[in-house]
């Protein structure tokens, strides 16, 4: 049974469908664009299909476009209105497509009835838009068409292998809808704007989802515009010819050339100077550009994906972003990625996906292989599949490894305020896997999982609750309550490392050293702050030793500082 919205100014379709297709649910019909928009806003997740009439005999004020002055200026007002009414469905379609690019819609007209051949071609080329095979509607053929579309939709949303790939999507309707939307946008030639807070997966989506689905054979090239000095940005984007400026000792290709035929991902597009915005606009308009210092025009055939965590529309209003470029970037279809804390319904899917990713990192992969060897698991040529969850798999399986989280740890991870979103999540999971495996592998003889009693299951690796809370606690509690909100902040400098673990350890080193200074070198106070155990100073000392912090050096530094 499907839920179908009919957009029609009369009850003809509704009556026909209810009589001859009683197996489906038909929502209250929308009589014009405004009502259709309101219904979809409220019930988009419930609507499987839209039936859209073309002829709307409705009052002038309900007709699209809202501003008809230009149309009236071209000729007879009454005739213009009549034409608007007889083609209104196509205008409604265009408008709805801006918000719902992947919503299946049957335009209730045949090819012959479309006012222009161009409309027929356009509609036939559009994904998710269908015309009737015969303009004289027959309930049976309409039913077949609806059932065919719905079957295809089900297959597409639940049956295809790629839909089951864990990736990033989870299983909530909102995310599956976003996925379908991005699938459509990826195939099109227009640019895509991805918005979202830091760490929400913007570059991940561009690289691992949009580019592979774009059908383009060229490379994926990503540029973070926030990391490129302003004066070098033009050369970086467009390339430079030898001698173009002092220091340009050789010609160098830009990212536009490298991405030719492929996808160019410009992260932090808001950092682009107004001058370069104009140059990028010309690329989008004409598909051509000039490298710095060159008069020779180059062709750029790129799928452009831009990302930002700024409000581009607001930047346009403030004069910091060119309106013409903004409009060229296809803002009507901009997608906004939710943060991890907004995706608790998908938490298990995301946990599985990211555990799989961190388990395949080189260091963790080696640790897993060593663990598997120690425990006699069936390590083949590749990597053992990894699963994760708060419950024990019913049957032992030597061909995979299951990370078992205590329910309280699972809840802690799920409910945590992930301000750094997936980047932070992945880092913490990487640490969890590393610390857990190091413990198991290096002290294989002493493994005594606390309270879980799964030691006999070689295929199950319990993650100790303490490991989880230890990793999350510093993020909670490293504070001087500078902001009076019960927390305070430690600034850390993040630099690229050879692995996430290395980056994480570097960060941990910084905050432990900062904390050491703030507590005056009092390990007991640090233990109270971090573990809630003032007597656990020894643990802090061990941890600091473990990650390469030398207390003697810190003491000397403190003494030098006091003496200075």
């Amino acid at each position: 049974m499907a839920s179908i919205l009919i957009i029609d100014d009369e009850d003809n379709y509704l009556d026909l469908c209810r009589r001859f297709m009683p197996e489906h649910t038909f929502l209250a019909p929308a009589r014009n664009f405004r009502e259709a928009q309101a219904t979809l806003k409220r019930h988009r997740s419930k609507v499987d299909l839209v039936l859209l009439d073309v002829h709307f005999q409705i009052p002038e004020e309900d007709l699209l476009p809202e501003d008809k002055a230009e149309l009236y200026a071209r000729g007879d007002r009454e005739r213009t209105l009549e034409r608007l009414r007889r083609t209104q469905g196509l205008r409604i379609l265009d408008r709805l497509r801006q918000s719902y690019p992947d919503l299946p819609m049957i335009v209730m007209t045949g090819r012959d009835d479309l006012p222009l051949e161009a409309d027929a071609e356009r509609l036939r080329a559009e994904d998710y838009t269908y015309l009737l095979d015969d303009e004289y509607l027959d309930a049976r053929s309409l039913k077949l068409q609806i059932d065919g579309i719905l079957a295809g939709k089900d297959e597409g949303s639940g049956g295809a292998a790629e839909e089951h790939e864990p990736f990033y999507w989870g299983r909530t309707t909102a995310m599956l809808s976003l996925r379908r939307r991005l699938t459509v946008l990826a195939r099109g030639r227009l640019p895509i704007i991805i918005q979202g807070a830091t760490g929400t997966g913007k570059s991940l989506l561009a690289r691992e989802f949009i580019h592979p689905r774009s059908g383009r054979v060229g490379r994926f090239v990503a540029v973070d515009l926030s990391t490129i000095p302003t004066d070098l940005m033009a050369a970086h984007l467009f390339g430079v010819t030898k001698g173009a400026y002092t220091g340009a000792t050789s010609s160098r290709e830009g990212v536009l050339e490298r991405a030719h035929g492929g996808t160019l991902f410009l992260d932090e597009i808001g950092n682009l100077s107004l001058e370069l915005q104009k140059a990028l606009l010309l690329v989008l308009q004409d598909g051509a550009y000039h490298p710095v210092g060159s008069v020779k025009e180059r062709v750029a055939d790129i799928k452009l994906v831009v990302a930002t965590n700024e409000n581009l529309a607001a930047m346009v209003r403030d004069g910091r972003f060119r309106e013409d470029l903004y409009m060229r970037l296809n803002p009507a279809t901009a997608v906004t990625l939710p943060g991890l804390s907004d995706r608790r319904d998908d938490f298990q899917e995301l946990l599985t996906f990211f555990i799989g990713r961190v388990a395949s990192e080189a260091y963790n992969h080696d640790l897993l292989a060593r663990y598997a060897e120690q425990r006699g698991l069936a390590v083949g040529e590749g990597t053992l599949p990894v699963t994760v969850g708060r419950s024990l798999p019913a049957r032992a399986d030597p061909r995979r490894i299951h990370f078992l989280l205590h329910p309280s740890s699972y809840n802690l991870l799920r409910d945590f305020n992930w301000t750094g979103n997936f980047r932070q999540f992945e880092m913490i999971l990487s640490n969890l896997v590393t610390f857990t495996l190091v413990e198991l592998v290096e002290r294989a003889e002493q493994v005594e999982p606390e309270d879980l009693g799964e030691a006999s299951r070689a295929d199950v690796i319990p993650i100790l609750p303490k490991t989880v809370s230890d990793l999350l606690r510093p993020v909670f509690d490293v504070s001087d309550d500078e902001d009076g909100d019960g927390r305070c902040r430690v600034e850390v400098a993040i630099e690229p490392g050879e692995s996430l673990n290395a980056v994480s350890v570097a960060v941990e080193r910084q905050y432990l050293e900062t904390l050491y200074d703030r507590t005056g070198g009092d390990l007991g106070e640090m233990a109270a702050l971090l573990l809630g155990e003032p007597d656990a100073g020894r643990k802090i000392q061990l941890r600091m030793n473990q990650i390469g912090i030398r207390l003697r050096r810190l003491r000397r530094r403190r003494a030098d500082g006091a003496g200075a």
Binding site: R19, D113, E135, Y136
Partner: protein
């Protein structure tokens, strides 16, 4: 009336008359038309022929009224296709009393002629539109 306007008029006829003259009734299987005529078919016929369209004030507009509205000012003689449509509309109009009276027996007797007239209207309007569109 210029060619563009004529084409638009034919499109309107095809939509308002051709599309709706058999909107519900064309979907019933052959045995539903056997006497005694089923209520559902009778309802569908009344709707398709006596209330083919609705005016702005909500009052029903019968098939022959739709035809008159959209063809009344067309130049005579009508194009061949439209002449055949006119005949078919007349045939339908002849059963108006039976329809209004819900005379099942008479309507069952006329069922083949009704269906034939509906088909003619649809086919001829479609053919004319295609001829005009494809020059």
């Amino acid at each position: 009336m210029g060619p563009t306007e004529f084409r638009e008029r034919v499109a309107a006829l095809k939509h308002d008359l051709g599309k709706y003259v058999a909107w519900m009734s064309a979907n019933f299987p052959a045995d539903a038309w056997e006497p005694p005529l089923e209520d559902a078919v009778l309802d569908a016929l009344q709707r398709d022929l006596l209330a083919t369209r609705r005016r702005a004030d909500g009052t029903p507009e019968a098939a022959w009224e739709v035809w008159e509205r959209l063809s009344g000012d067309l130049e005579r003689p009508l194009a061949d296709e439209l002449a055949r449509v006119a005949d078919a509309v007349s045939a339908l109009r002849s059963i108006e009393p039976s329809l209004r009276a819900r005379d099942r027996a008479a309507l069952a007797d006329h069922a083949p002629a009704i269906q034939e007239a509906q088909r003619t209207i649809r086919d001829e309007l479609r053919a004319l539109q295609r001829r005009l569109t494809r020059g």
